[in-house]
Amino acid sequence: MKKLLYIVLLVSQVFWAQTAFEKGNDFYKKEKYEEAVASYEQVVQSGKQSSELYFNLGNAYYKMHKVAPAIYNYEKALLLNPKDHAAQTNLHFAQKMTIDEIKVVPKVGFSKMINDLLDVFHYEEWAWIAVGSSAFFLLCFIGYYFASQTVVKRIFFFGMFVVLLSMLISVSAAIAEKDNYNSERPAIVFAEVVPVKSEPKATASDAFVLHEGAKVFVLESLDNWRKIQLTDDKEGWIEKEAIKELK
């Protein structure tokens, strides 16, 4: 009985979140962006998420000309679904509203090639590829083991090694990609204007100034300060309250 109650509760919560999402969509269509944001945020507060939810939230903030929350939510949508073209497009629109223009210094060399290869799939996808190749390995083995013709046997034997190799590669890729994902701590500047200091002290000299909506990567933490790096490799210390981390 108790279990049933839980299930009912859970299901009703899902439905409730779903209706809140749709309510937000309705508000958005009627151009009541503040209500739409409130509605979407409610869904997030209830512990539910989806790439589409963050995307819609970003859109609503964009329409309200709130740059930092818009970019934050687009980035969040892209974290869940990196290939979302709509989110990429709208993120570009939002980034054009920011004050800072930060160049992206292209990384070169072998590590960049490796990273590009890793980025082809999300680490969960890599994991599924590994599982798939493991299953395929079994099939190849069966084929090899039970085939009577030598040619077929050889083909299956060769296939076994190829599949095993691909499995090992995808497992290590998944682990490396997850490691990359965890070590990367992107954040968005929420403060309207914030000086980035050369040292983690309020009295330290300003290295440069950032405006809201700028994307930074957190490298280190010290008390109330975060060491950040920009996409153009500039580094400095920023106060914790000025930024909001994506993960």
Binding site: V14, A17, Q18, F21, N25, Y28, V43, V44, G47, K48, Q49, S50, S51, E52, L53, F55, N56, N59, A60, Y62, H65, V67, A86, A87, Q88, T89, N90, H92, F93, Q95, K96, M97, T98, I99, D100, E101, Y123, E124, W126, A127, W128, A130, V131, S134, A135, F137, L138, F141, I142, Y145, F146, M167, V171, A174, I175, K178, E192, H211
Partner: protein, 585 residues
């Protein structure tokens, strides 16, 4: 030829003439209120005269150059002097250091001169020389509008020259113009001096406004306004009358000074000071106006940031607009339309920014804030400009690259213009804190499971092969199967006595036919026994077989229960399978 003679003469001059360069002073002891005249004289012309620093003195006149050149009885004499008039600054001994000059490539120096400055001496009264009385009739006054202003609050200094009715001024000359350090100053030109009547110390005087200056203090604390000194040529009555009974005047020079004034500048209050305060003090209006708000990408618009009103307009920076990176903003053109009457600067200063949008879309220029200190209300005031929405109609969208395909003439080029994407209507919500698949138990088990299945497959096959290889066991299983096949009909007829035993007999016959390759006609008991034994069947089994055949025959005529039928059936199975094993083909 002439030149050679001249040169020779010059050489002789050089040989015979004794160069003299010396310093002489008008007196060696003087009162502090007296002037000292120093002459540096030489008897040859020289270059690069450099006077000493005159420490302890102020140069009030000079250098005056005097050159005399004469031929007397065929003898040439040359004399050149530089004269300075010095005013001692302090009492005590003072040294006039050597001056130097270069004559014919050699540097000559004067001897240092020692001078003693004593207390002020009483000047002897000369009734015909009215200088000593001039102080009574002429005063230079500096009027300062406010002595405790705030920083950047305008104050005015007006210099007035009061002249008594008995004295008259012929001319004046500024000796020292005040330098207004730590002030921003603006002189107000006075085109025509107007003589007015006024009172000075209760007496009737005429006065003239010589100079008006507006000052904006730039530093808090006690600031000094340097004095203005005038050298005035005055006419004073000598007290004598001329032939016609008119007052006789004597002219003389007089130095008047307005005296140094100090003012106490207050710094602006810290309480309630806005963060973006840039030092504007006065009463202002702040405006931000774009020339247009709807335009195409690549067109330019002007954004005018202007501050108008009264106050230190030239002395603060205008706030800078902050624009999104999609709008390219160029350095501003600064314009000042400021007039400075005595009440302080007024007018308008403005910065005009040219802004060129790069991409289509709506962009927001953030509200700008201008803060100033209102002197009347004695507090800070802040003006916010409204936010400005720039609507860029046409142009590349932010996502498109710059490699736009050129349109073929006469054809419409379909450019995939990325538009701002509408919200998504469907979603699949999941819990935020969901464990990933990678690293979960499911992942590992799915990854490992195929490898665990492999040994199972191998084992299963091995088992099968082992079973296949077991010859005896296989035979048993085979013969059992065979017997069962032969007896299947009998099994079906279980319970029906007649049919059962007919089927049983038929089965046994069939078995013999298959095994021994004999016909039914040859099936006598002896024949069967012989044949079976010759095929190495055990006598016991053969006996059982024959017994079974007998019982089949008996059973037709005797009643039999289901129990015996079952017994016979089982026996048949064992016998047939036994024979199957034993018989060799």
């Amino acid at each position: 030829m002439n030149r050679v003679i001249f040169l020779i003469v010059l050489c002789f001059q050089g040989l015979f003439a004794q160069v003299q360069f010396e310093a002489t002073v008008s007196k060696n002891t003087l009162g502090i209120n007296e002037r000292l005249r120093v002459d540096f004289t030489m008897n040859e012309d020289g270059d690069n005269f450099s006077p000493p620093a005159f420490e302890g003195f102020r140069v009030v006149g000079g250098p005056n150059q005097a050159v005399s050149y004469s031929w007397i009885n065929g003898k040439k004499s040359f004399n050149k002097s530089y004269s300075y008039f010095l005013m001692p600054l302090k009492k005590g001994p003072a040294i006039i250091k050597p001056a130097s000059i270069e004559i014919d490539g050699k540097i000559y120096k004067t001897n240092p001169v020692k001078v003693t400055v004593t207390n002020a001496v009483q000047e002897e009264v000369n009734p015909y020389y009215p200088q000593q009385k001039t102080g009574e009739g002429i005063h230079l006054v500096a009027e300062i509008s406010k002595t405790n202003p705030y920083i950047n609050e305008p104050i005015t200094v007006v210099y007035k020259l009061y002249v008594s009715n008995t004295a008259s001024v012929r001319n004046w000359r500024e000796m020292a113009s005040p330098k207004y350090n730590d002030f921003w100053s603006q002189n107000i030109d006075i085109k025509k001096l107007v003589v007015e009547n006024g009172k000075y110390n209760g007496e009737d005087y005429r006065y003239v406004v010589l100079r008006k200056t507006v000052l904006y203090p730039q530093k808090a604390g006690k600031l000094e306004i340097e004095p203005l000194s005038l050298d005035i040529e005055v006419d004073l009555p000598t007290g004598r009358r001329d032939f016609f009974g008119r007052m006789e005047y004597a002219s003389g020079n007089k130095t008047v000074s307005a005296g140094a004034k100090s003012i106490n500048v207050r710094s602006l209050p810290e309480a309630g000071k806005p963060i973006d305060f840039t030092g504007a003090v006065g009463d202002f209006d702040f405006k931000v106006t774009p020339s247009k708000t709807t335009l195409k990408a690549g067109e330019s618009l002007n954004l005018v940031v202007s501050v108008s009103g009264k106050g230190n307009l030239k002395l603060f920076n205008l706030p800078k607009p902050v624009v999104p990176s999609a709008l390219e903003m160029y350095d501003p053109e600064h314009k000042e339309k400021v007039t400075t009457p005595l009440s302080g600067m007024q007018g308008e200063v403005s910065d005009t920014y040219a802004i060129i949008p790069q991409y289509k879309g709506n962009y927001l220029i953030k509200p700008m804030v201008f803060s100033y200190f209102d002197l009347n209300a004695n507090k800070y005031k802040t003006i916010n400009s409204p936010e400005i929405m720039i609507n860029v109609m046409d142009g590349p969208s932010p996502t498109s690259g710059d490699n736009q395909v050129a349109a073929v003439p006469g054809k419409q080029n379909v450019v995939s213009n990325d538009q701002f994407q509408f919200i998504k209507l469907k979603t699949n919500l999941t819990a935020i804190h969901q464990k990933g698949f990678l690293g979960s138990g499911l992942f590992y088990s799915l990854l490992i499971a195929p490898f665990l299945i492999i040994p199972i497959i191998v084992l299963a096959r091995k088992k099968k092969e082992a079973i296949d290889g077991d010859v005896v066991g296989n035979k048993i299983r085979q013969s059992n199967k065979l017997a069962k096949r032969f007896l299947s009909e009998a099994n079906k007829q279980m319970g029906n006595k007649e049919a059962f035993y007919v089927a049983m007999e038929k089965a046994l016959h069939n078995f013999l036919k298959a095994k021994l390759h004999i016909e039914t006609s040859e099936m006598s008991k002896e024949n069967i026994q012989e044949l079976l034994l010759s095929r190495k069947a055990t006598p016991e089994t053969v006996q059982n077989f024959l017994g079974l055949m007998d019982s089949c025959e008996f059973a037709r005529y005797t009643p039999a229960s289901v129990g015996t039928m079952q017994q016979d059936y089982d026996k048949a199975v064992t016998v047939i399978s036994g024979l199957e094993k034993q018989i060799t083909n």
